[in-house]
């Protein structure tokens, strides 16, 4: 069954006055993903198309983009399942565009890195398993793949350019949940800011859009709960800033 789908792709090169969209027809099979289609465009129709990708399996987080107005990872987005005659592909929101579908992740990481969350965390044990002798616990990577999809989906990130953002705040809460040597008070102070955890207005778009089950909004709310709890437990006789 020969099938093609039309793709309308956001194009922009540095020096351009404004972006525009280019239209491409791409042959699509049952397993074809948006990333497959875009790399096919680059290979056979337009080698000037720039896009980020690396792992092809939702692990590196580099292929985040907006497909038909929704943030997704292109490598796991099946074209046929989108069910539209024309697929519109645009870069993530709330990030500077370098070219075409490539955004500058600098501002994202500037915030994310401030939380200083370690990359590796304790792993859930497979039910019924016991770690090897001498091994206190199994470990695995954190869920967050730093794709920037949550920040793109967040309406607050759209209006407040200094908002810490869902990814960084989720990272702060992970530090509070599982410190592993990180500076918990520092991380919490970072979040306890008008442009930190208090800026969130509970749209929960970040949690719905996240491709890696991080639940950033859930983390932000838990963070709020623990920040309030910490203030509450400080007795009136104790000066603010006293160390525990």
């Amino acid at each position: 069954m020969s099938d093609t789908t039309a793709f309308r792709v956001h194009r922009f090169k540095q020096g351009d006055e404004a972006p525009h969209h280019d239209r491409f027809e791409v042959p699509i099979g049952p397993r074809t993903t948006v990333l497959d289609a875009l790399t096919a465009i680059r290979r056979t129709q337009d080698p000037s198309l720039t896009l980020r990708h690396s792992c092809f399996h939702a692990s590196c987080g580099t292929c985040g983009m907006k497909v038909n107005d929704r943030e997704v990872l292109a490598c796991v987005t099946n074209v046929r399942e989108l069910g539209s005659a024309e697929v519109v592909v645009e870069p993530l929101e709330n990030a500077p565009v370098i070219s075409d579908l490539v955004v500058d992740m600098g501002p994202f990481f500037a915030r994310f890195n401030a939380a200083d969350r370690p990359l590796v965390r304790e792993s859930e044990l497979v039910p019924g398993s016991h770690p090897a002798e001498g091994v206190p616990y199994a470990e695995r990577y954190e869920d967050c793949i730093e794709c920037g999809i949550c920040v793109s989906a967040c309406p607050i990130a759209g209006t407040d350019s200094t908002y810490l953002g869902p990814a960084a705040l989720a990272a702060v809460d992970r530090v509070a949940e599982e410190p592993r040597g990180a500076d918990v008070p520092f991380a919490l102070r970072l979040a306890d800011d008008p442009h930190g955890a208090w800026r969130c207005h509970l749209a929960f778009e970040c949690t719905e859009a996240c491709p890696s089950s991080v639940d950033p909004a859930g983390h932000i709310m838990k963070l709020r709960g623990s920040l309030i709890g910490r203030r509450w437990r400080r007795t009136p006789a104790e000066p603010v800033g006293a160390r525990r």
């Binding site: 896009l51 092809f56 490598c75 590796v120 497979v126």
Partner: protein
Amino acid sequence: MNATYRSPAPHVVIVGGGGTGGALALDLVLRGIRVTLVERGEITSGTTGRHHGLLHSGARYAVNDAESAVECIEENQLLRRVAPGSFEENDGLFVGIDDEDMAYGEKLFTACGETGIPARWLTPAEALRLEPNLNPALKGAIQVPDATFDAMRLPLRWFATARSNGATIQPFCEVNELIVRDACVMGVRGRDHRTEKDFEIGADLVVNAAGPWAEKVAAMAGVDVPIQPSPGVLLALRGRLCNMVVNRMHKSGDGDIVVPQRALSIVGTSSWVVEDPDDLGVPEDHVQRMYAEGAKIIPAVRSAPFRQAWSAARPLIGSRGASTGRELSRTFKCFDHRESDGVEGFVTISGGKATTARAMAETTANVVSGKLGIDAPCRTRDTVLLPHTAYYAA
């Protein structure tokens, strides 16, 4: 971006932004050499980013390729020191399902001893206690120091550290032409796809680290580097079916490894050969083979929800004529084209595997330094790397 003026520190251009290119950029800048790396896409967007993330203990090669095995175990231990916090360090198992496996296991255990790979036998009960999802009919297992690493994020640490030490990393810059004059490579020309304008970079030496595309780049200098792109299919399933890497205790074959990675389980891999590394395809029968073979070591593979199936092309060195790619060597090779083809100023590094990228870079950097008359030792064995997050935020 430079013309060819004389300066005290020589300038090397690396073509190819995969793990090898990144590790090489770091090695060279730490020796005081100026580096510009150009990559046509996002860094690690070639083969490097796509593998299953196995940090080899070397056991997979111990029986048939002792040289590779020793390379692996050395890098395995070294990388944990220079890139701490970048691995799921849960060890690995080789699991024997039938008598043939167990016979291979005897050879494997001996070979591990000979190549310096820590190994210990486990009874089926012990193995199932560690990993309850293993095939309950297993006959025995060997525990080895396999680990998981993130295929993109570990190399990103080389790039981040190289950049902070002065290397210039230019993604989305595609080299179309090598500047060759009197059988000497003097630089590269290409197009910066961020601006859609051409660029030209002069160099004292150009390194071809383009992985499966190395043959294409070498041809730009008129030299032939026999690279046979050999893809394999990988399958990502939702759910963490094991914490340890699980291998089949037999000679290398399809679908004989399950690598846990974050919240996924990666089953791999297969092998065939292609001509064009840009057009690999994902053969459906290979995907089904991943399910079938993977289920022999972890039955839950059969019913785990599908996340994705994709292909990655190994850059195997060897002549044409191989039929599956498994016959070609997995070690790496560094070609000084003055010796092999009479072309000065041009070096190609290819072959190898992700676990040994740093070692490949060290060998190449030794060759490059020698050619440039730079007498500086390799420092990547001891330099602790910046975190991967420093790459984009720097």
